[in-house]
Amino acid sequence: MKILTEQIDVPGIETIDVFCKHGGYQAVEKAIKKMTPDEVTEEVKKSGLRGRGGAGFPVGMKWSFLAKPEGIPRYLVCNADESEPGTFKDHYLMWKSPHTLIEGMIVSSFALGANTSYIYVRGELMYVIHILEKAIQEAYDKGYLGKNILGSGYDLDLYVQPGGGAYICGEETALLESLEGKRGNPRIKPPFPAVKGVWQCPTVVNNVESIAATSWIINHGGDAYAAIGVGRSTGTKLISASGHIRKPGVYEIPLGITVEDFIYSDEWCGGIREGHKLKAVVAGGSSVPILSAEMILNTVDGEKRLMTYESLSDGGFATGTMLGSGGFIVMDETTCIVHNTLTFARFYHHESCGQCSPCREGTGWMDKVIYRIEHGKGRKEDIDLLVDVAKKIEGNTICPLGDAAAWPVAAAIRHFRDEFEWHIEHPELAIQPGAVYMRPGASWAQ
């Protein structure tokens, strides 16, 4: 079942003519000509669609929080700042099929009563920005954007805003600061963007994939969308699959397939690369806890783990993880968990905006301490020190970057403490190129 990527490989799908030939912009026609904004919102609520950027907050509910004071403009801002390591689905979707996002932007803006909307794209994707701008011009030319869309009296202008290279701008209030032409420092909430967002006006910020899904929901109904998936994990999800698999890439899965199927089936990742064994997975982008092969495939109760929000988090952080943004990073037995954790710690150190001291200082210390462990200079007390620093960052910052930095370090130690100990106890071995600790008896160690 594919919703967003069914036609992604059709030649010319990036042009509005081909896109329309394959059913494109029908949701705009339907929403604007036959529905009220509240009816559109109602369908999205019914669909159970949850925010696809990582937090998983219900989209329809987020929309219903939007303040609507008389005479004050409201804004929809699409978060296309995709920067979470392991995640490249929005990049893929916008590059291959820009109109899928633009159609969703029009439907969603109509529902929210926004007359100006922005797509905030990370600046590194400048070529994608050009693709989007070309597609937006086509939509203007066809009358799907601009004044009096389809004769309805509804006006909408849509612009693309480039970022400048800052992971923090994926956090919605930092994104809004950036859109205002400032440094991307997250704001203290409340007030939430739904009340005071960009330029202090009511604003909804949604991820690319969330917005793109609204077109299908309008065409087929919220109930049809909710019929896909399991429980509160409705619909499909784009999964960015990377690492040691046969077929890395972006896959649209119906939520609810097993993790095992996703990794080993030829329909998806196609299994671990030839001659190697699964060691660990980071299932939802770099910030979610890493799990060992056994833990990612099965829950602690021995049930097969599913690709859903609930099943991936089954067991809490003790034995579970999160679906997050769907950045699915697969590691085989050649992977040094300490080195991988170092790259993540370095990432968060680099990307911390510096506003809150626990994050600014803590990410720096985690980076430095893991660096010295990885480079054979670790001390016995370093592991507990890392756990302590992670604990002191978590929950003590304005935005979730602090948590996102703390979790991968804490989880790597929780599940692979022996690898950190080995680095500290055997620095002469650990610093050899390609050196990897093999846990005796582990499924990947034979």
Partner: protein, 164 residues
């Protein structure tokens, strides 16, 4: 170093700047800083204080408002750079695909370290964080173009091509 009076966008770019400023509500044109800084860097390769002052003058804002933004976002070069700036991804997923080894090869091939420029002014290498292309790693970017699934051989070909 270019002098102040040579820093003026070509007429076509100035038109674009005017259009960009109209994307935002009246009085909120400060939002145009990032798009205009990108245009400026494309024009002058790096954001010198003079370039940033020029951007401030276009937007009728204080120069410090541009400095504080340009220094926050990693894409803006605040020091002179070579003709081709190679921005190499150093984050986990690219490392899993051999990113570290390929990067070592690139540094050896150019004879420079991270942040340095070759003596002929042709290449600068910078390490960057995740470029959202993890399934196609290792990856680096030169201006708008992504170079993906890099190997030592591919790196050599790219450098050869750009050295011509």
């Amino acid at each position: 170093m270019e002098t102040k009076n040579t820093i003026v966008f070509p007429a076509e770019t100035l038109d674009l700047v005017q259009k960009i400023m109209k994307r935002y509500p009246e009085g909120k044109h400060k939002s145009a800083i990032l798009p205009i800084l990108h245009l400026a860097q494309a024009e002058w390769k790096w954001c010198s204080p003079e370039v940033m002052d020029y951007v401030a003058s276009l937007l009728s804002i204080a120069p410090v408002e541009v400095y504080e933004v340009a220094s926050f976002y990693t894409m803006f070069h605040l020091e002179p750079v070579g003709e081709h700036v190679i921005e190499y991804c150093r984050t986990g997923p690219c490392c899993l695909m051999g990113g570290v080894e390929v990067y070592d090869h690139l540094k050896k091939r150019l004879g420079i370290q991270t942040g340095e420029t070759t003596s002929d002014g042709k290449f600068t290498i910078k390490e960057v964080e995740c470029l959202a292309a993890c399934g196609w790693g290792p990856v680096f970017q030169i201006r708008e173009k992504f170079y993906m699934q890099l190997t030592a051989e591919k790196v050599d070909q790219i450098i050869d091509e750009l050295s011509k």
